[in-house]
Assembly symmetry: C2
Homo-oligomer: 475 residues x 2
Amino acid sequence: MPNKPVISDDLATQFAAIVGSRHAISDEETMAPYLVERRGLYKGQARLILRPGSTAEVSQILKLADETGTSIIPQGGNTGLVGAQVPFDADRHIVVSLGRMNRIIDVNAGANTLVCEAGTILANIQNAANEAGRLFPLSLGAEGTCQIGGNLSTNAGGTGVLAYGNARDMVLGLELVLANGDILDGLKTLRKDNTGYDLKQLFLGAEGTLGIITAAALKLFARPKSREVAFVGLPEAASAVTLFHKAMDGEGRNLTGFELMPRIGLDFVLTHAPGSRDPLAEPHPWYVLVEVSSGDDADILKTRIENLLVSVIEDGIASDVALAASGQQADDFWGLRTSMSEVQKLEGGSIKHDISVPVSDIPAFLARAEKAVETCIPGARPVPFGHLGDGNLHYNVSQPTGSDKEVFLSHWGNMNEAIHEIVASFNGSISAEHGIGVMKRDLLPRYKSDVEMGLMRTLKKTLDPNNILNPGKML
Amino acid sequence: MPNKPVISDDLATQFAAIVGSRHAISDEETMAPYLVERRGLYKGQARLILRPGSTAEVSQILKLADETGTSIIPQGGNTGLVGAQVPFDADRHIVVSLGRMNRIIDVNAGANTLVCEAGTILANIQNAANEAGRLFPLSLGAEGTCQIGGNLSTNAGGTGVLAYGNARDMVLGLELVLANGDILDGLKTLRKDNTGYDLKQLFLGAEGTLGIITAAALKLFARPKSREVAFVGLPEAASAVTLFHKAMDGEGRNLTGFELMPRIGLDFVLTHAPGSRDPLAEPHPWYVLVEVSSGDDADILKTRIENLLVSVIEDGIASDVALAASGQQADDFWGLRTSMSEVQKLEGGSIKHDISVPVSDIPAFLARAEKAVETCIPGARPVPFGHLGDGNLHYNVSQPTGSDKEVFLSHWGNMNEAIHEIVASFNGSISAEHGIGVMKRDLLPRYKSDVEMGLMRTLKKTLDPNNILNPGKML
């Protein structure tokens, strides 16, 4: 596709006038945080950052963009991990940052609904739900910074998926702006509405390529009265799946967390995270963190999980267990898991994958992936961890001890290819929760059928005929 | 739109050859059950009924239909309530009935997944899940006859929505055939997969206007260990909402049923349903059926619901309660609710609505609707019942006692208009679970914005440019 013309000063002025000059950013220093993705993996450039204050302004921006063929890069909290939110052209890209549109419009505890603008920070939504005696269960590492519009546009996952589903599953209605500036007002809070195509679904997970989400009506849930968290040492990865099945049989929908960790990952945490300590006396090859929570009184839930833990020790499924004795200890157990990604940086380069396979195939996947890693880079250290209950692992690979980081990272593509081929053989996903963005854009056609790619391209062309919305991303 | 040409004998022979003459039905008697909708509300006509045995055959049928501009009416168990599955042209419509494609392909209790063909009867899926120690929670009156392909194409609701969501929420993957015959193979069983647009969402609830679903990968759930069902008498409709909030606070996701019934509805059941009896000693203006179920032991769940029931009596929210003493009695309580639609027939004509509003607005809706009914037809008897926990009521209105049925039914349109206007004022839905089909097709543009209607029409035109898939339905 030929490059679009550069954005003239006159056109830039027109765009700036829509939001007001205070909210149109073009100086280098103020622009910087909108251009650089937090890991520094993608360094972007843009002609202008626009910070609209209303849906009407977003509409005017897109209308002008569509008429002039101007590329718009929608951005929330700029916490995405695949570069979908990054602009890449100093002359042709305009970022539309939703951060000013951060009002929580309505919290209805009775109806279990919350309505807010797209720029609302996820943690603020969680807190508002909490204050109303309810739970908004979407939870992920970036929750103090990421915005709900971005969460919905990427169909975010996180730690609550097992019990509550992905971001998509928490949406009752959306307000959004189409490429031509038309406002689609679907901000209903209904639990059931079968009046025609469910249009909002198209825009959830579309990474801003089909429209810009400006507000959302979200589902709230009952807040659990009690929570128990156990840290379990396992002799092998297959034990984690057996334990998962047992926990699912016994706890059903009370099972709200089931996270896998390898010993090497725990070692990294214990080495690098100040104050961290191993909950168990001896090391074990694998660990799972099991969380149950429910409306039951604490003693009932505790008795049940104690029985489960005793039985898996007796059956030889688990080698050792620790049940958190307090809320603080439960948080500490979670901390071991959630710091696992961060501490890997201190062990040198890390080649990452965000994959899913059917849960029962996890052990076979791990065995084959480990062999593939050793073939690809002898001595490289797999650190597979994550949401085993969802079949979703962050299959990260740390560089061999003492090797050169840059040389190691130069194998990123080969390593990806080897792991993704194994994923494909299990009918899995090469991007379980992080999306496609620019990082995996070139990989997509290999793992999707021609029919799927064709239909996606048709939808993109139909909804955004002038290709103004996040061009070069995903498709 | 001008009529399409009639289907020639030669073309009919070509279609028949795809499925084999045994499975191409054109004689009047054998065709009959495919043409008449069970209430007799719609009497259809078709040139041919095709009963394909494989996805490949469905693909060949649509390819030929697309090339020749032939109208195809997809049909599952023929239990839909808005006429979406009914053909209406003896010379131009071909029914594609999925009933032969009824294999359950895989049940994986460990992964909580079930894969089956689109023609599988819902009850058979429920049973297969049950045999594997799991729950498939989609449940509705027609479950012994309806097919999962139809359930998904209409995004069916039913009694499990409160705890488990609509049919859409139970789908992990779909295989389907596009209008041009292309097969979209998305039969993955992954819990998380953010690789591009979630294409299956387009076809769920699309009433067969965008493609034909041929197979589905479904979510299974833990089977509850215990269940308690209570029948509660209430002084007024508002009490039902108060009780719902209290039950939701206390029981959270264990609350698996919350159904509203008016005294007149219970009277109809007690009069017409043999063997039915009132669970409570005195009559009350309103009732709710409350079901809780969980992985808890029966005594724990029972203690909790008993505490809830005692507290709502003490607080004056409820007037009287009966807790089912056995599984049989629990089924009997449910029977009072599920026979409410059927017994209305014996009270003469009934004008029906399938509406939803936010739960907290139910009492206000009921008050305004009752006035509107009395204005529209003095003496007409509202029998509003249904899934209060979802904000979804079947607002049925029985004819005035002793009046003329045909005269009463001639007011169907006026009555609908009055009720739907009230629904719209609460930002509600004029079709919460039954869909649009032909019944509400003309109403749709009134209750959708031009932007919504425009986008729906654009999608239809893009995915089915020759308008071969269920023409004249929904849009």
